[in-house]
Amino acid sequence: MLSVAGITKSFGGVHALAGADLECSAGEIVGLIGPNGAGKSTLVNVVTGFLKPDAGTVSLNGREIAGFDPQRISDAGIARTFQNLRVFRELSVRQNVEVAFLRCRQLRPEKAMKVDVDALLEEFGLTALAETPAGSLPYGTQRWMEIARAMATAPDILMLDEPAAGLNNEETERLGRTITSVRDRTSAGIVVIDHDLRFINSICARIFVMDQGKQIAVGDPAALWKNPKVVEVYVGPDAAA
């Protein structure tokens, strides 16, 4: 279980995070939404070690990991994808996924036994493209590959930073089904950041809403959209009144 509390982070006086919270249990799909600049990606970067928090705690299965570097956090069991894709361009699709698996096998051999690279490629619809250099794939396919690559580390928690960006409706639906089935199969906890509210509503049991660097509401999709604070942020103050 991932438990994040009271994270603050400022960049030269700008408070990107002002006491942000987040929680995700094993087998749970959690949504993280909020307007542009709310601090969602900053929070993911803090949790995964790419940014050091000024204050606050991040614990994974009871172990405090705030401020660790990305390698140690990945080793501890949190995997991620990147909003701006980061693929190994000259490696093939298979090698992109395989390299994650090989590292996992070195660090956590007992967890790696549950990972099957071929099955992952199949699950994410990449089998036919396995030998293609990742850099020559279309943008959307690279996104799928990044998720498959993250799953090849056998994570306890998977953080997806805008996985549906640039996908059409049909592809977004398929992504939702895949994420759900990955959760069912591995019982990993999955945190999904996205702007597509319908997508988030359809797969998340619990949604954290952020605004101005902190959580303003949390709840299941049905209750959340009745919350006036959420309506205010998303629709405007007039509608909430």
Binding site: T48, F50, D69, P70, Q71, R72, S74, D75, A79, R80, F82, R86, V87, F88, R89, E90, L91, Q95, N96, E98, V99, A100, L102, R103, C104, R105, Q106, L107, D118, E122, G125, L126, T127, A128, L129, P133, P138, G140, T141, W144, R149, A150, T153, L167, E171
Partner: protein, 360 residues
Amino acid sequence: MSEAVFRTSPTRARRRPWWLVGISGGLVTAIPVVLIGIAVILIAPTYYQNLAATAAINLVIVVGLQVFMGNSGIAHLGHSAFAGLGAYGMAILATPLMMKRLSIPNAPFGLAQVELHPAIAVIVTLAVVAVVAVISGRVIARLSGIAATIVSLAFLIVVHSMFLHWPALFKGNQGFFGIPQVVGLPAILACGVAVIVIARLFRESPNGLQLRATAQNPQAADALAIDARALRRQSWVLSALICASAGILYALFAGTISPRIFYFQQVFMTLAMLILGGMGTVTGAVFGTLILSIGLEAIRIFESGGVVAGLTLPPMLGLSGVALGAVIVLCMALRPQGICGPKELDEMLSGALRRLRGTK
């Protein structure tokens, strides 16, 4: 994304383990070297035999350079320092005592009284180089990009200065002579084939693949818990041992060495060879060396002037240096991945074979 993406292939191709890919791929890549080598041994006059031996030694250096530079993506300018350490290790350890009394009578650590069998000297030399590489590798691995490159250059200069200014051990500026000449072209070629296979094995190994990933996207590699520093250290040490082997071969082939052999001229020639062929692959290292070795020899004909195809040419000294610079600049500008591209020879061949079958 098209539907075709989600079509799954009916049969999962059986994939070979990485070590089998490494060995077989390395051997395929070595075929041109072996063929040219055999041809030279059988029919070429002595002058070309010696030329081929020098080219084969350069091949070992270029392959060693590829192991670090090609996989880590960090430009390396200090590889000749390791070749020099290998050569001087042999000179100090394997030269007969009679010769040493003339060249380094006051060698420190009692080395003036040491004469080892060449085979044992090789082992001791490689062990010493390994220690130097482990220490320098710790520094290099912490850095990335331009900083690492500059430190590798500094390392070259430090080692060169040591050769020059510690005459009691290295005999300084003058040539160190009298090293037993126990190695010929066939042995050098065999070593060339061996290091090609070793380099390819490292490239295909789990660690080699991870190191290549760090070169292409450091953040993504970090997010997969890949330890870039440890991998850089490993490839640095392996690269150093291969380059040192080249120096050892040179010493045992030529019998005489001097510090300037393992300096800028060699650094830039081998660098140009690797860049020309393509640093991403062992194939690139092999073909870059073959092409530039032959090319430079052709240029040397022009360099000395004379009559070529009815034209009287003036001597153009330094033409080969200009050509080396031109190769580096043109490759970087026009084809940064080198003439061989991103694929190994065996991958190109099997791809071509598949296309051939497909069109039938």
